[in-house]
Amino acid sequence: MRDYPPLVTAWTDRSAVASDPTVPDTRSPGRLLWWFIRNQGLLFVVCALLSLTWVLPGATAPWILGRAVDEGIVPGDTARLGVWVLALLAVTVVGAGSGVLYHTMVVRSWLVALYGTVSLVTHKSVQLGHVLPRRVPTGEVLSVSGSDSDQFGAFLEIVTRAIGEFIALVVVAVIVLRIDPELGAVILLVAPLLVLTSAPLLRPMGNAQTRERTRDSELTGRATDIVAGLRILRGIGGERTFGSNYAVQSQRVRHAGVRAGGWQALVESIGVLLSGLFVVALMWLGVARVRDGQLQIGELITFLGYALFLLQPIRTFFFLTQKATRAFVSARKSASVLGQPDPWPQDREGRLDPSGPLVDQASGLWVEPGELTVVVSADPDASAALADRLGRYLPRDVDPLSMDSDEDARGRAATAARRRAEEQRRTIQERDREQADRAWGVTLGGVDLADVPLEEVRRTILVSDTAAAVFAGTLQDAVDPHGRCTREQAEAALRAACAEDVYDITPGGWQGLLDERGRGLSGGQRQRLVLARALAHDPEVLVLVEPTSAVDAHTEAAIAERLGRHRLGRTTVVMSASPLLLHHADRVVFLSDGAVADRGTHDDLVARRPDYRRVVLRAASEEVPA
């Protein structure tokens, strides 16, 4: 039987996708939910059975009690009474034992779904890599793991409970219809009606709760906003303005909350009224039938007991529809994330030869192997796009639409927005596949990057861009995440990137812990740490985008000198317009309007090209005049 944490292998091996049972069925939300149930296997069946044995005492106790009264207590038959007391004891012990077992199994089932979803999202994210943010907004990916995963657990629980209670309901129906068909029919028909009667009130209550949630998330937004801008608020002022803005919104949330609370009170008190009147009606009818001699006193007690019991399974079915709706919404979002295919063709088998030149056809860039080439461009976007091409990264030209703007939004506008987002994602998917399939236009040693497996490109060419992330963990892991470096190599990389101060300020040295995203380091420290990591990775071809943009001139000068020495004899391309770096370049390429305009040493270009001088000089003058 499945247990948690579940083993998930989906998308870890590109070739084994079709045969892996942990790959979910994302063709539609319904199929995904069905996959979750199938994926649970025996565990699901066990949960359903245990939920039945758990509710069975409640379903049979009124009947046993009635028999005990009629056959034991009233006639004074101690033996019969003993039988029924033992029967009650038996179902009670089974029920209590099942409670613990059901809880154990349902937690297991819930967590298999929850942890499984987290793993699937993780695997999908690392499989797609830079393609992921083209397809799905980051927040949506995180919400699949953070909240939808929980919905699936809740869905599985309510389904198993509904199955158990449905069977219990059938048992009760048989019992009451056998005792008194007419009265039994009344109970079985009226109980569901009672629960349904409160249904019309559920919509205004739901609306009020949605309003409260919307206002509350706006309030949380304001709190986060205040914290994010706290330096400004405490440094310059404005505490009163934003404190009172927050208070105003807080009061709006309070009003919405009180109103939603009012609706909820109404729904609950009407529930009390209806079930109370139900008991009254049963009492009236039951006593009348006792008077007619059609019902024994114990049987009356049985009916009264069922009047209380029956409301429970019906409430469960009610929850089932609610939670199934929510699970369906979650499944739609999850299917859209987990169903994103990887665009890269699987049939390429070539190899790259890093001893040859790196050539970009679009710009005319020609990088000699083993040299340090610095690319200068008036437009930083052009050099960033060039770096993306050199590494076979799809261009950053799309921002995907979100599908989960508001979970509770219904109606035509929301449906249309969702359809638009789905449509757009499909278009991007197709375009990605088409781009990934044709010749790329960048060659290394004469081989187009599209003619080799993507893994081969990643292995050979490392592009370290300005958005490169730092991950939580030890400093050693941050510099050498694969554990391939010797200490001397890691030290050399740290020194070449002038990042020794990061080592110094991290208590515990190499084993010192960095916070998530390198929070707590300054921008310059993070940038130098990223550089150190790229150097320690020691790729055949290294492409660095603006590696010193957040570093002060003193340190930049030192990096410029050490970088060339560290990469001596390896192909290195740096996108930068900093004169300190340009001095140390073997070759400088000057990019104008995205195409190579000139090449030479820094001194040559300074001497012969006024437009180059302007770009390099502007890089220096482009600062806040002080």
């Binding site: 009650l88 914290v227 008190s269 995440p481």
Partner: protein, 656 residues
């Protein structure tokens, strides 16, 4: 080509920072196990007795881990402090005392609703008695009377239930609004030095997740708690009224169960806090993976990230197993304690009935009470559970107020605007001074650039000059008065640190600009906007100054956001500005458009620029080169070039 200057940081620092590298480097790179062996490996083939014992051994290990997590959550090594649970009790008590009449009304309405609900079984019992007495042939009058009484009771119960729930919502939301507004007020009072040094992550977690947890407990748990206590207490009363004999089994078994419940409640907070911590760890790891998806791909870190997620899940699973076992222990006891009485009551009732001690109606009522009793008691336990989680979060929220103030305002006010620093030393960690006796007097109206390698202390010097932190020794005075002795409102008009974080607040354009002088009229706001060339585009906005900005509202371009930030400073109008380029990654594309706005701000003010770029230094009146906590060169560009020192070497490398 001129060779670049050899500025080797290793030789500039007194000692090599990597000196102890060999001691901290881990040569064995097999990934460390995240779980102790006993938790990670379960022997499923062992005999049942061995496995049973191993289960409890694992439970004990998990408990220790959970208790440790709770202890470290309550006493964080880093970040903001945490209040004591006693303070929370006082705080919540205060919230309820302020609403004493409402609390009374909630208790009363709940008591009446519960009493009504509990009266129904009694009457049904009477009815059974009447039926037995008349041998089935109950008098029409009796039925009518009893039916009407039940109808009356049901109507009363309906009304009281509505009142109880609605008043509880009024109480809960009122108390919650007061509590969160209190928290935000304390956040807005955090000492300036603390705000500038601490990362905001901890605070964000507190104002989002902890406020959420507190909200759950204040909104739901407190009213539910009141309801459950009232119902449980009244249930006993009702059962005793019905028949004290038949109430005994429930009472006895509940007393037997109570120690277990108490133990559960003692243990549960650690389990919940630990579970919560593991989930936020899972989320953090995943958001790093998703946001850094490209880096993961570039560096071939797929396996590393998948393994990290699996590790997080493994740790989380252990926390869940602990919580599950705790709940199972509780459920086992409670299920028995609350369902066995019905068997006993039946047997006992039959025996007592045969002796004429109780009527059949009393037995019926007692049996109905048994079925009704479990739910409120179960709810009582669960709400205490939630209350405890809420209290843990509230300790973190109230902890924000425990940050000691970093300055006390004196009564002296500055005469003049000369900013003078003398013999400045400062340490972030005791015994590690980053400034070693710096003297610096600003000339009114000058532009002073501070340059130096990272870690040299130039940013710290800037923070001392701006009055963010106080020096360990020495003093920074403006017009003869210590900066730290000025109230913040005065300090802000003397000197401001410009980090150029172009944060745009959620609020109107006006709200975003008038920060420093709240209550300024629209004309002042317009003038400030006009000075930075922003008025033209602000006036084209749909609602002018009232246009809402910030997340989810009108989106500004980076350049516009910067102009808003500059307009704030124009309105604040301090005579001295400290600009820190290190924290301002100015987008080169917007900087070009902002030159005019920026120079409008700087005109007529004393400016200290902590410069990254040498061009900034070149344009300044004086340049201070800071190295290793000391000013090693000070003078104009030309003077420093003539001195042919460090600055001159750097400049030649830059411009040649």
């Amino acid at each position: 080509m001129t060779t670049g200057p050899t500025l080797d940081l290793a030789t500039m620092s007194p000692q090599d920072p990597l000196a102890d590298s060999a001691q901290t480097w881990r040569g064995d790179r097999t990934p460390p196990e995240v779980l102790p062996r006993e938790l990670a490996q379960v022997d499923r083939d062992a005999p049942a007795r061995v496995r049973w014992r191993a289960l409890w051994r694992r439970h004990a290990i998990r408990r220790d881990r959970a208790e440790q997590t709770l202890a470290s959550a309550l006493e964080p090594v880093r970040g903001l402090p945490v209040a004591r649970p006693r303070d929370v009790a006082g705080f919540l008590g205060g919230l309820l005392r302020e609403r004493a009449w409402l609390v009374t009304a909630v208790v009363l309405a709940n008591a009446l609703a519960a009493a009504a609900a509990l009266a129904v079984p009694l009457i049904l019992g009477r009815l059974v008695d009447a039926a037995v007495a008349a041998d089935g042939d109950v008098a029409g009058d009796t039925i009518r009377t009893l039916t009407l009484v039940v109808v009356g009771i049901v109507l009363a119960q309906t009304l009281f239930t509505f009142a109880a729930k609605w008043l509880a919502a009024v109480l809960g939301h009122g108390a919650l609004a007061a509590a969160r507004e209190h928290v935000i007020r304390t956040v807005l009072r955090l000492p300036l030095g603390r705000v500038e040094s601490a990362s905001t992550g901890d605070l964000v977690t507190r104002v989002t997740r902890d406020v959420g947890a507190m909200s759950d407990s204040v909104r739901f748990a407190i009213p539910e708690f009141i309801l459950a206590v009232v119902t449980v207490a009244l249930s006993f009363v009702a059962m005793a009224v019905n028949s004290w004999l038949l109430a005994l089994p429930a009472l006895v078994l509940m007393l037997v169960a109570l120690p277990h419940v108490a133990r559960y409640l003692r243990r549960a907070p650690a389990a919940y806090v630990t579970e919560g911590a593991t989930y936020s760890r899972i989320n953090t790891t995943l958001s790093e993976t998703v946001e850094g998806a490209r880096t993961v791909e570039a560096l071939d870190l797929q396996d590393v990230r998948r393994r990290r997620a699996a590790d997080d899940i493994a740790v989380s699973a252990q926390a869940e197993r602990y919580g599950m076992t705790l709940r199972n222990l509780l459920f086992g006891v409670m299920d028995m304690a609350f369902s066995l009485p019905r068997v006993i009551v039946l047997a006992l009732g039959a025996w007592a009935y045969s002796r004429g001690a109780v009527s059949l109606g009393q037995v019926t009522a007692a049996m109905l009470y048994m079925e009704m009793f479990y739910e409120p008691f179960d709810r009582l336990v669960m709400t205490v559970d939630r209350l405890q989680v809420g209290i843990a979060s509230t300790t973190r929220l109230l902890g924000i107020a425990a940050v000691p103030p970093d300055r006390t305002a004196g009564t002296d006010r500055p005469h003049g605007s000369e900013l003078v620093g003398t013999d400045l030393r400062f340490a972030y960690r005791p015994g590690h001074d980053v400034l070693h006796g710096v003297d610096l007097a600003l000339r009114t109206g000058e532009r002073l650039a501070i340059v130096g390698p990272s870690g040299s202390g130039k940013s710290t010097l800037g923070r001392l000059l701006a009055g963010i932190n106080g020096p360990r020794t020495g003093s920074v005075t403006v017009g003869g008065v210590e900066l730290l002795d000025l109230p913040l409102s005065t300090l802000r008009r003397e000197v401001a640190l410009v980090t150029q974080e172009h944060h745009v607040f959620r609020g109107s354009v006006r709200d975003n600009v008038i920060l420093a002088r709240e209550g300024s009229d629209d004309e002042a706001v317009r003038t400030a906007l006009r000075t930075v060339d922003a008025l033209a585009w602000v006036e084209t906005l749909p609602e002018g100054l009232d246009t809402l900005l910030g997340a989810g509202n009108y989106v500004l371009t980076p350049a516009q956001a910067q102009q808003i930030a500059l307009a704030r400073l124009i309105l604040a109008d301090p005579h001295t500005l400290v600009l820190d380029e290190a924290t301002s990654l100015i987008d080169p594309r917007t900087a070009r458009h902002l030159e005019g706005s920026m120079s409008a701000l700087l005109t007529g003010r004393t400016v200290v620029a902590i410069a990254h770029r040498l061009h900034t230094a070149h344009d300044a009146d004086r340049i201070a080169v800071v190295s290793d906590g000391r000013i090693v060169e000070l003078g104009s560009h030309d003077e420093l070039m003539a001195a042919n020192g460090e600055y001159a070497a750097l400049w030649r490398a830059w411009t040649s």
